[in-house]
C-alpha cells in the first residue's frame, strides 16, 4: 500500500512539474492542425473563442505567470473532475472493499 501511494505522489509531482515548469519551454509554433489550416488557406475561417477575454484564455497568452497558473489550475481541475466523475461512476459494491 505504501508503494502504491508513492506511485501516485511521484505521478502528481511529475504532472505539476510538467504543467507549471516544463510548459515554459514548450514550442510556441502552431500545432499540426493550425499549420495545415494556414498552409491550406482555412485558418481564417476560425472564429474568436467565446472565452477569449477570460484571464487564463489560451493559457494566459504571453504572460509567464499566467501560463504557470493555467497549468496549476488545469491540473487541479482535471484531477478534481476526474476524481468526481470516476467516484460517481464506480459501482457502489466496491466501496470500502479494501
Amino acid at each position: 500500500m505504501k508503494r502504491g501511494l508513492a506511485v501516485y505522489a511521484v505521478g502528481l509531482l511529475v504532472t505539476l512539474l510538467v504543467a507549471v515548469v516544463m510548459s515554459q519551454f514548450a514550442s510556441s509554433q502552431p500545432d499540426g492542425l493550425e499549420y495545415v489550416a494556414g498552409e491550406q488557406g482555412f485558418l481564417d475561417s476560425a472564429e474568436e473563442h467565446a472565452l477569449a477575454d477570460s484571464p487564463l484564455a489560451d493559457y494566459g497568452g504571453d504572460s509567464r505567470g499566467k501560463l504557470m497558473l493555467s497549468g496549476l489550475v488545469g491540473v487541479l481541475a482535471t484531477l478534481g473532475l476526474g476524481y468526481l466523475v470516476f467516484t460517481l461512476v464506480k459501482p457502489r459494491e466496491t466501496t470500502g472493499e479494501q
Binding site: S23, A26, G32, L33, H49, G71, G74
Partner: protein, 225 residues
Amino acid sequence: MHIPDGFIGPGVSAAAGLTAVGGFGLALRQARGYLTDRLVPLASLVAAFVFAAQMINFPVLPGMSGHLLGGVLAAVLVGPWAAYIVVSIILVVQALLADGGLSALGLNVVNMALIGGVGGYLIYRTLLRMTGSKPSSVSRLAAIAAMLSVPLAALGFVLELWLGGTLNSISISSVLWAMLGTHLVIGIGEGVITFFVVAAVMRARPDLVYGSQGFIGSRTEELVP
C-alpha cells in the same frame, strides 16, 4: 489538433456533439464494468498528467509543433472507456481555457477520445493478439498504437471538414495529404512519450496497467492488498 470554432459548420458540429454525448454515456456504462476503488485515483491522475503533457508542444518541422493526444496512453493505463472519459474531461477544461472551440467540443471529443483513444486502443489490442502476449511488449505495442492513433484522429478531422467545412475554396484531397503527412510525424512524438510513460508505470506497478490484463493479472493481484 484542437479544432477552433468556425472551421466546421453547425450541422456537423451538432452531430459530433450528439455522438460525443452518446459516447460519454456508453463510456460511463462500460467503465462501470471494470472500475474499482484502485482505478479512481489512477484515472484522475492520468487525466491531470495528460492535460499537463498536452501543454508541451514539441518542435516537429520548421514552423510547426505537435503535442501529445494521450488517448492510447490513457487507454492502456486505465482501459479504453475510462480513457474516453479522461480525454473528454481534459477537452472540457481546455475549451474553458479557450483551447479548442466550445461549439467544436463534440468534434474534438470524437477525434481525440473516440477515434484516438478507443480506436487507438483497438489497434493496441490487435497488435497484442498478433504478436502474442508478453509483459515486455506492453509499452512497445502501446507506442506503436499511439503513433498510429495520431494520423487516425487527423483523418477524423478531414472527414468532418469534408462533410461540414465552412469554406468552399479548400481542396479536401490536399488537406487530407497535408494532415496525414504532418500527423504521421507528430505521431512519432506521441509514440515516444507513450512508450516511456507506460514503461515507467509497468516497472513501478504493472498490476495497475489495464492493457497488461490477461498475462500478469492473477499473479500480481496477490501481491497488492
